[in-house]
Symmetry: C2
Subunit: 322 residues, 2 copies
């Protein structure tokens, strides 16, 4: 590979002069400059970017960590990538499948200056481990967290869940089954809290149905349909962990000849494309603005900018499944 010494030798100048031409800094005579540039062109020399980032200490790479690739996370990654690229950052994507060792690889890249910052969507290690890496570069998370070193773009799902439950109550449903996402997630805790407060307020019995957690896929919804069918005392509405579960449940029940919402009301969460296609009532989750906020937080820390964050609000999207 051509290096700066080769160019200096061929141009008959010092490496310092070549460096001044390449970095467009300091005085170089027009004639010398032209000679150096011609040799650079002739040798097809390209400054090694690793050498440049070694000097500057910046790679303009932001890592995104997630355990999985769900429609809502894909939407986050898409929006985050677009705004990052607009600001001349590239994205390195880490899908850990929940393996803490893989997550450590990404965190070590922050430590090793291969990443300028990290957006940790769904973590695999403890927050203590992740926090210990914040001294090497900014980390922002999507998960619910209150930690001064680990800013989060999470939204309070307690309120969103309340909105959904109140909608179901207003529609006349009284035997509401609530199906939750990740059992480890703090959002799940908030949803459970909202449900229990709701049940108490309206004097609803809550312990008739089993407790469903970790239901996040279309297939989970399909299994839920089989469960529903086998029950003698069936819920009259099911508040699903997300739109995929709701979609699997709804299409399965329709295939079996049941009518939605006639036989059972179904409520999704996230307002992804499938909710639109299936006329599913759902909660709109402002994922695009959230992804923007995650980028702004990193950018503010990296470039000392002070970009204002979007205000995030949930909204019920009423369609035909409730």
């Amino acid at each position: 590979m051509t290096n700066i010494q080769d160019i200096a030798r061929l141009a008959g100048v010092s490496t310092a002069t070549v460096s001044r031409v390449i970095n467009k800094r300091g005085y170089v005579s027009a004639l010398t400059k032209q000679k150096v540039l011609e040799i650079i062109k002739k040798l097809d020399y390209v400054p090694n970017a690793n050498a440049i980032s070694l000097k500057k200490g910046k790679t303009r790479q932001i890592g995104i960590i997630t355990t999985l690739f769900s429609p809502i996370i894909i939407q986050f990654v898409r929006t985050f990538s677009l705004i990052a690229e607009k600001n001349r950052f590239n994205i390195t994507l880490f899908i850990t499948n929940g393996d803490p060792a893989k997550e450590i690889l990404a965190l070590e890249m922050l430590r090793g200056k291969q990443l300028d910052g990290i957006a940790c969507l769904i973590r695999s290690n403890t927050w203590e481990v992740i926090e210990s890496y914040t001294r090497y570069g900014p980390i922002v998370t999507w998960q619910r967290l209150q930690n001064e070193h680990l800013p989060s773009v999470f939204m309070d799902q307690f309120h969103a869940y309340q909105v959904g439950l109140e909608h179901l109550y207003a529609k006349g449903y009284r035997k509401i089954l609530s199906v939750y996402p990740m059992s480890q997630g703090l959002n799940t805790k908030e949803r459970i809290r909202a449900y229990s407060e709701f049940a108490q307020r309206y004097h609803l019995i809550t312990d008739i149905f089993p407790h469903f957690e970790d239901k996040m896929l279309v297939q989970d919804g399909e299994e839920l349909a089989t469960w529903w069918l086998s029950q003698k005392y069936r819920p009259d509405a099911i508040f699903c962990a997300n739109d995929e579960v709701a979609a699997g449940l709804m299409t399965s029940l329709k295939r079996l000849g049941f009518s939605i919402p006639g036989d059972v009301g179904i409520l999704g969460f996230d307002n992804t494309e499938v909710a639109h296609l299936l006329d599913l009532t759902t909660i709109n989750y402002p994922i695009d603005q959230q992804a923007e906020n995650a980028f702004f937080i990193l950018q503010n820390k990296l470039n000392n900018t002070s970009h204002l964050l979007n205000t995030l609000t949930y909204k019920l999207v009423e369609r035909k499944s409730t």
Copy 2:
């Protein structure tokens, strides 16, 4: 930042000795080794990864270039990422939105040794421009191409389209509208060729319907429903560019009270999750094996391995929309 000189000074040894300890190469006495490791730990020293990759000339980063993020491309990225990570490569994702300048940024990273290789799913520049970068590292593409420097994992869509058309014919459809994806794509050309050959074989009239191209979104399918409704002489079957278009078309027509396949048969392409949910007949596209092949091609070039490629075949998945 701590560097190797600091450690050498504090340990009272040469930087060469420190380097031997860090790289676990060459003889260092047990006592010296312990002293050096203690200082490394105390100073929280981490070898700068850019300095390492500068030396090794490898970053273990593979770039993925795409113009957009469709369900089928997301599935490709997901599978490619998983197999890359299993082999200790990380993924840098470039979503260009069709901007050639953004694509050049990614290609320049290959030239600047920030990427070891590139999987170019959907390109924005001419093949000549992309090919000129193959001297800096391997590039594999997903698009239809025959070029010895640019290996491709494309599949011949001519045959797949024939399979779909023959299915529609066998089901009794004679007024078949064919809706195409990217007008620039060579796959579209192959689909058009298959359709015209098919029409000729069965003496079908082909010029009754307008030519629809660049239809790839749910919204495009919805607009197609509006078009279908406004026609006096309607197609009895529509072969859609992909499952999203088919999904938008199908759900729109159902909302308007039409029955599928009673009023019109609908055939998708790709066999993504939405086809399963909507009971859509479609063509299964072996995207996972294709993504694996793309990785194997890069790996074979980068590591001189000789991983055999998967054999790729299309399959009709008959459901309830035809």
